[in-house]
């Protein structure tokens, strides 16, 4: 059952270019993605492709100079600003990428306790601290006294303890060692088994494959492919989009061979398919318009030549 659905989402930022002249930068284009109950979706893609902006859009915490079109619905209802403000932090929670999102003037213990909803506040917080190997003394500390890895564990524990129905984790892994990553993996999985939907945003394909049910691949502000995890094997023959194939083959455990060029900047996108300039199968049709979404072998792809 679909709990969160993003339809036709486009986001642009207005920026001052020179003096008082403003220009609009579209960073997300016609994006569709949906989250089902009990499912973990990983969003992978290179840095600067707009992954974090998607997370912030779902939470409704984009900065003031952003304009958003398209719709985000929760449980079948299109979300308005007011509804989102009520759901945020209760039904939809974010594990932010930056550890700066903690309240700098609040002790860690009470900060974690604010996100507990269904259980006894103090015991729930103590239990989750034990699980994530956070010393009881950490309760009394302020955010600036934590190391990077500790702060990250606090953020993950806050999301886990909230038992929200939609959890969006933005790059939860950097700075964590493998043991804590495993713990985080199993807690996300447990939350999904209890009926929550989890979206994990990451650039680490390995981690995404271990954790998720399906993978949404992001390139230059749109989702170019949504594939089930089982399609990632061998030389990537089962993958649909040339970018996904390239991403898979460039892994050190596979061929480690890169493709040429780099992702276009948001204010300098080519017409049509954003990947066309780097794609070996590109034809003149590719640069006419953004390819429509197609369903192939149980996955979505935006490519004219996908088979």
């Amino acid at each position: 059952m679909t709990i969160l659905e993003v339809r036709d989402l486009s986001i642009s930022f207005s920026q001052y270019s020179k003096g008082l002249r403003q220009e609009n930068n579209q960073v997300i284009h016609n994006l569709n993605v949906s989250l089902n109950k009990g499912e973990i979706v990983a969003v992978v893609g290179s840095s600067g492709s707009g992954k974090s902006i998607l997370a912030h859009a779902i939470l409704g915490i984009l900065p003031g100079n952003a304009t958003m079109t398209g719709s985000i619905s929760f449980d079948g209802q299109v979300l308005t600003k007011e509804m989102l403000a009520n759901l945020r932090g209760h039904e939809i929670v974010l594990v932010p990428q930056s550890v700066k999102f903690l309240d700098p003037l609040m002790r860690i213990g009470s900060q974690v306790q604010t996100s507990v909803r269904k259980q006894n506040v103090v015991t729930a917080q103590k239990k989750i601290f034990e699980k994530y190997k956070l010393h009881p003394l950490v309760e009394k500390l302020y955010p600036f006294q934590l190391s990077g890895g500790m702060a990250r564990r606090v953020l993950v524990s806050m999301a886990v303890v909230s038992e929200a129905s939609v959890i969006i984790a933005d790059e939860p892994t950097p700075g964590l060692d493998s043991e804590v990553i495993k713990e985080a993996e199993s807690s996300f999985r447990k939350l999904a088994d209890n009926g929550s939907a989890v979206m994990v945003i990451t650039h680490d394909i390995d981690f995404a494959l271990k954790l998720a049910d399906k993978i949404a691949v992001f390139y230059a502000g749109t989702v170019v492919e949504i594939a089930p995890v089982r399609d990632f094997f061998g030389r990537g023959e089962n993958l649909r989009h040339p970018y996904t194939k390239a991403l898979w083959r460039a892994l050190p455990q596979n061929d480690f061979i890169p493709i040429k060029g780099s992702q276009p900047l948001a204010n300098d996108l080519p017409n049509g398919c954003p990947f066309a300039p780097r794609c070996e199968h590109a034809t003149s049709d590719c640069s006419k318009e953004l390819p429509a979404e197609k369903m192939i072998r149980g996955g979505m792809v935006r490519c004219l030549h996908a088979t």
């Binding site: 700075g175 060692d177 390239a246 898979w248 460039a250 050190p252 890169p258 780099s262």
Partner: protein
């Protein structure tokens, strides 16, 4: 030609050693991996080898003489977070030319767009910034490169792009590389030998 750490020990606080009695040698043109859990001192060892930190005991030598204090440092370190390694008030051009003037060929192979040279660091993504940091560190006088989680924040294509250029140059000039990473497949792919400092 070799970079050698002998019996090195270090700790940030009094009476608390991060590691002791550590020996490590990187030969000319050799690519060595450094692995270990977080907090084991991988980064600290990298900083010591590049001369950012003095070891509390033991000694680091380059070709049997101590590391130089002046001039272009023959051991260059590339950090994990490029946004912390560039001056935010310099345009990228100035940052790139801090140590030497890379030629167009290198810039092209690293995928650095000429357009970017006029930009400020906060206008570029992490991947783009890291390409600049790598180009900056690959001067002709660089004899050893310490890559501290150099490509951890990058997607796999950018990672492979950057490493391919670095490996080519290392081969050409017989530059030695220490690869610090927690990604086992990357270390296995790149290195001829892997040193684990988990129990030192």
């Amino acid at each position: 030609m070799q970079l050698k750490a002998e019996n090195v020990g270090f700790g940030y606080q009094k009476n608390s050693w991060m590691f002791r009695h550590l020996d490590l040698t990187i030969g000319k043109g050799e690519i060595v991996g450094l692995a270990g859990p977080s907090g084991a001192g991988k980064t600290t060892l990298g900083r010591i080898l590049a001369g950012y930190e003095m070891p509390l005991e033991g000694m680091v030598t380059l070709n049997d003489s101590p590391l130089p204090n002046t001039g272009y440092h023959p051991v260059q370190l590339v950090f994990q977070h490029p946004e912390k390694a560039v001056n935010p008030k310099w345009r990228m051009q100035k940052t790139l030319h801090e140590g030497w003037n890379p030629d167009n060929e290198l810039l092209e192979r690293l995928g650095i767009d000429k357009e970017c040279l006029r930009r400020w660091p906060n206008e570029l993504s992490g991947g783009e910034l890291q390409r600049f940091c790598v180009a900056r560190a690959l001067g002709p006088k660089t004899e050893f490169l310490i890559a501290d989680e150099m490509t951890t924040m990058l997607d796999s294509i950018t990672q492979a792009q950057i490493w391919q250029v670095v490996l080519d140059i290392a081969k050409q000039r017989e530059m030695g590389i220490l690869v610090i990473s927690h990604e086992a497949p990357l270390l296995e792919r790149l290195c001829s030998r892997i040193v684990d400092i988990s129990n030192k």
